[in-house]
């Protein structure tokens, strides 16, 4: 198994008094693509928010290259190399496509990704770079969201339900772009509700159920029955 880039140990997360994650353990190796599955409310998005600092957690529960980063501010975490494509895209509506992409580069990390590289990956965005981001189709908006996250030149890219609300043909295009992103060794975590997609694009899978990791294993070795049981709890 590859060297641990991110180590999550006994992670608990709360919204006020309500506990959402219960003793989650998770390991992410350098260059891996990991899939996270789970039904609505299973805690997948909260887990992603914990990794990016949007949900405050215990300092030692998340380690990046051995450094405790749990509870760090989101801005510090992106500078350390973790970027997220949020659920629902959440582009800046007052900005053009290019301005949205430039916001992604605010952390100013060095690396391959810049506007030209993003436009190479998603050529349609170059054509529409001066248009308001809200005027784009759902798939194009998702491309902007992915491009914006890549602009920070992250070591780890977290993708939270990037297929949500998109047509199958658009989802295929988006997932077809993943190999270009991971070609240089970028580590990717993909949260999905679609079992086929998650299994196909990842090397390992975690399945969340009611805030706990119910199943973990190599994507190619997990059977449909095992995943269904962990996904639905039946």
């Amino acid at each position: 198994m590859s060297t641990a880039l991110v180590e999550v140990s006994n992670l608990n997360a709360f919204y006020g008094d309500a506990q959402v994650l219960f003793d989650v353990n998770f390991r992410l190796g350098e260059g891996e693509t990991i899939g996270i599955l789970g039904a609505n409310g299973a805690g997948k998005s909260t887990f992603m928010k914990s990794l990016t600092g949007l949900v405050k957690v215990d300092t030692n529960s998340i380690r990046l290259r051995g450094e405790a980063i749990g509870g760090n501010a989101a801005g510090e975490i992106v500078r350390k190399g973790i970027a997220m494509v949020p659920e629902g895209r959440r582009l800046f509506p007052s900005m053009s496509v290019e301005e949205n992409l430039l916001m992604g580069g605010f952390a100013k990390r060095k690396g391959k990704w810049n506007l030209q590289e993003i436009y190479k990956l998603f050529p349609i965005l170059k054509e529409k770079r001066n248009q308001p981001s809200t005027s784009l189709s759902g798939g194009q908006q998702q491309q902007v969201a992915i491009g914006r996250a890549l602009m920070s030149n992250p070591d780890i890219l977290l993708c939270d339900e990037i297929s949500l609300g998109l047509a199958p043909v658009v989802i295929k295009d988006i997932y077809d772009s993943l190999p270009s992103i991971t070609a240089d060794g970028m580590t990717v975590v993909v949260v999905e509700q679609d079992v086929n997609l998650a299994q196909r694009c990842s090397q390992r899978l975690y399945c969340f159920q009611e805030g706990r990791v119910a199943l973990e294993g190599k994507s190619s070795e997990l059977s449909r029955d095992q995943i269904s049981e962990a996904y639905f709890g039946i």
Binding site: G53, A73, A74, P93, M95, F106, S133, R148, S152
Partner: protein, 286 residues
């Protein structure tokens, strides 16, 4: 009547300086600063006090007071107002309302209740003949030019600079802006710093153009608030044009009767609020 409109536009220049800071703070943070008018008055009194102590050119006071306002605005937002920002607007309203009361009482204690003005060496009575019987004041003209420059500068900064993008980002999606590496507390503080510097400018011009007294704050806040609402939230040129509308409405009222000016402005504000609640020049969404 043309002269009335011209004077209304000149008065609108001063009102737009009152309103720009309020518009900026509301646009970026959805925060309404109830002490905004009192801060204008404080700046006026600070200018008057410094000029009395060291006999300085009133325009040099701008170079002195605007940087002070930048620093104090940043610190006030960072250490006080940032703690009140959230989904509930009440805490910031209560804090700034309390600040308004403190400011008025402190000013009365220090300067007494008498109105005062900043000595401009006669600039405030100088006129410029535009031909015929139409004469405009030089100082109001300077204030209008300054207001246009500030409005243009703010709008340009919002549209074309990284700081402007940061303001728009935290206003649009605060969480996501933080995911990009922005520190929203610092961005908010920058917005308030700029707003306070505009307030300092407005206060100095107000005390040059007319008199200021410790209890003027709420009225000035009302003019600023009306300008923002008339113009439509979210656009600095909208705020500028809203201030022009208010200034012209008041001058038209004054034209008919010296006692009608202020309430004529309020009447126009209420009519616009009733028939065009999003203002005359609302920001168009993309």
């Amino acid at each position: 009547m043309i002269e009335t409109v011209i004077h209304g536009i000149l008065l609108g220049g001063l009102y737009s300086l009152f309103a720009l800071g309020l518009s900026l703070m509301f646009g970026v943070m959805r925060l309404t600063n109830i002490a905004h008018g009192d801060q204008i008055v404080i700046s006026g009194f600070m200018g008057i006090a410094i000029a009395a102590a060291v006999n300085i050119n009133p325009f040099l006071l701008i170079l002195l007071l605007v940087p002070c306002a930048l620093v104090s605005g940043y610190a006030f937002q960072y250490f006080v107002l940032n703690r009140t920002i959230g989904k509930d607007p009440l805490p910031s309203l209560v804090i700034t309302f309390g600040l308004s009361i403190i400011a008025q009482n402190l000013l009365q204690e220090i300067f007494s209740a008498n109105p005062r003005a900043l000595d401009t060496g006669g600039l405030n009575t100088m006129g410029l003949n535009l031909g015929g019987d139409t004469v405009v004041g030089v100082l109001p003209l300077i204030i209008l030019v300054c207001a246009i420059a500030c409005t243009f500068g703010l709008q340009w900064m919002f549209a074309h600079t990284a700081l402007g993008r940061s303001f728009r980002a935290v206003s649009d999606e605060k969480d996501i802006a933080e995911l990009m590496g922005l520190n929203s507390a610092r961005v908010y503080s920058m917005a308030t710093a700029i707003a306070f510097s505009l307030v300092a400018l407005a206060g100095l011009f107000q005390s040059m153009r007319t008199t200021v007294s410790p209890t003027d704050g709420p009225n000035l806040l009302l003019f600023a608030f009306e300008s923002v609402i008339i113009g439509g939230m979210g656009s600095f040129w909208g705020t500028f044009l809203g201030a022009m509308t208010l200034g012209v409405a008041q001058q038209v009222g004054f034209h008919f009767d010296p006692g009608w000016g202020i309430w004529f402005g309020h009447l126009v504000f209420i009519l616009i609020l009733a028939f065009r609640p999003s203002g005359l020049f609302p920001k168009t969404k993309g």
